[in-house]
């Protein structure tokens, strides 16, 4: 089997003295959609933040495209091809949509207009409002702007922290559709989600975390079909 594009192995660590992650491993191949689900407090967001470098790991390693990035800061990882969409406060509210995208491309030194057009193509609802302040948009549109902002650096791996938190079911479907579109362009997706059922439906690979460690790992379909997983996490 080919080397996975992102490989985070045996991660152990937390924010302070107590460990939240206890030997968690995540792998994502190119163009795959990987979803992390699990009960509250399982360490899902923590695992993703660890992959992004927002907390120090006591043990474990993270490689991206074969390169060891365990020691790199988040900004450096962005340079290496990671994109991150935080759960909250993920846009610049008093900047226009277009300016938000411009800020997303801040570290790029080349002409990013083509990328911007691609983002607008991906999110047509947002393209209409490109000169409006991002803070005035609806919840779902704001999330689209947030994802678009992260896409401006043309990342190889896009990480999303609970992108559908607090949005209505219709908006959630729309968002997931967009995420599938993004993955189709060859970008790997790593996503933490509370709405486990809907997320696993679109997942190529699903990681169920419990107390900071891997509990079940399988394709999204397989996990959905597994009665054990269904009973414990998906409400039957």
């Amino acid at each position: 089997m080919a080397e996975p594009y992102l490989s985070a192995t045996a991660m152990r660590g937390g924010y302070g003295k107590a460990d939240i992650l206890n030997g968690c491993t995540l792998n994502v191949d190119k163009g795959q959609i990987a979803v992390i689900v699990g009960p509250n407090g399982a360490g899902k967001s923590t695992a993703m933040k660890a992959v992004f470098g927002m907390l120090n790991l006591r043990e474990g390693a993270v490689t991206l495209g074969g390169e060891d990035i365990t020691r790199l800061t988040p900004q450096e990882r962005v340079h290496k091809g990671m994109g991150f969409v935080p759960q909250t406060h993920n846009i610049f509210p008093t900047l226009t949509v277009e300016e938000n995208l411009e800020m997303g491309a801040f570290i790029r030194e080349d002409d990013y207009r083509e990328t911007m057009e691609q983002v607008y193509h991906l999110f047509p609802a947002v393209a209409d409002k490109r000169n409006q302040n991002a803070g005035e948009l609806s919840g779902g549109q704001r999330q689209q702007v947030a994802v678009g902002r992260a896409l401006m650096t043309r990342p190889q791996l896009l990480m999303l922290d609970e992108p559908t938190a607090g949005v209505s079911p219709i908006v959630m479907d729309e968002l997931f559709d967009r995420i599938i579109e993004v993955a189709r362009t060859g970008i790997s997706i790593l996503m933490v989600e509370q709405n486990a059922r809907q997320a696993l439906e679109i997942a190529d690979i699903g990681y169920v975390l419990v107390q900071g460690a891997n509990r079940y790992t399988d394709s999204g379909k397989a996990l959905m079909a597994d009665p054990e997983v269904r009973r414990t996490f998906l409400g039957g």
């Binding site: 962005v78 406060h89 993920n90 300016e99 800020m103 801040f106």
Partner: protein, 333 residues
Amino acid sequence: MDILNAIVAILNFVVIPAAAYGAQLALGALGVTLIYGILRFSNFAHGDTMAFGTGLVILVTWALQAMGISLGPLPTALLALPIGIALASVFVLGTDRAVYRFYRRKKSEPIIFVMASVGVMFIMNGLTRLIVGVDEIRFDDGARFLINVQDFKAWTGLAEGLAFRVSQAITLVVTALACWALFRFLNRSRSGKAMRAYADNEDLALLSGIDPERIVRLTWIIATALAVTAGTLYGLDKSFKAFNYFQILLPIFAAAIVGGLGSPLGAVAGGFIVAFSEVAVTYPWKKIATYLGFQPEGLLQLLSTEYKFAVSFVILIVVLLFRPTGLFRGKAY
């Protein structure tokens, strides 16, 4: 009913002085609001930054005058202004490096920054006294009037005269230019947008690769440039007296808060609101009321001019009571 004379009197005694004062307050408030929005604290040393910078401008002006350089009808101080700004910026960047950076790294409470700014205020106050002393200084030269009272009366044949001083005209022009340049910078340039982004959402800005120290440096330089310009224009218009610059801190803060702390547009609006209120409330309206046909008993002066800044204080309290985020929805943090 003598409408023409009434209009001229209003222009001469209320509108023109208030507009000039409003422009000066706007520049000062812009600096305060930028520092609040980006560095997230109220800079109590801003008034003394204005005084210190203006002091430097005065020294350079004297040097230029001694060398025989002048700007014709315009005040020589305008030539000295860029040099004064550069020197003051160096000092202010120094204070950031020596004082504020430490607390930024520690993520201290905003009130600690305010206290530190009190220390910086003392130092700048002392330095200003050192370089230009505490006495009143007049450093304007060149032509005084664009339109003077006698000429106006001769042209129009009206009883009321209109005086439009060169310093007032310069204030309005320079302020307009400065505001145009600032808004263009903030809205069109990459660095300006980065500053706005940083003020909006610091974590996301850092994530986007924006260099925080660069933003901080830019903020201090721009705020200092605005402060020194405001101080110089104020000193040209009235005169330079170090204590006045401490007193003007209150109207400047009031202007920034009225407009919405963190909103540059608000700062400009707030500056004019405060200035016009101050002038309108302390002006004796008797003369104009007489022109309009009334026979008023007293001077019709709401408050004596000694209480000018009580007006900005009342405006401040009203805003804090009813709409703390200000007109343009600044940050209340």
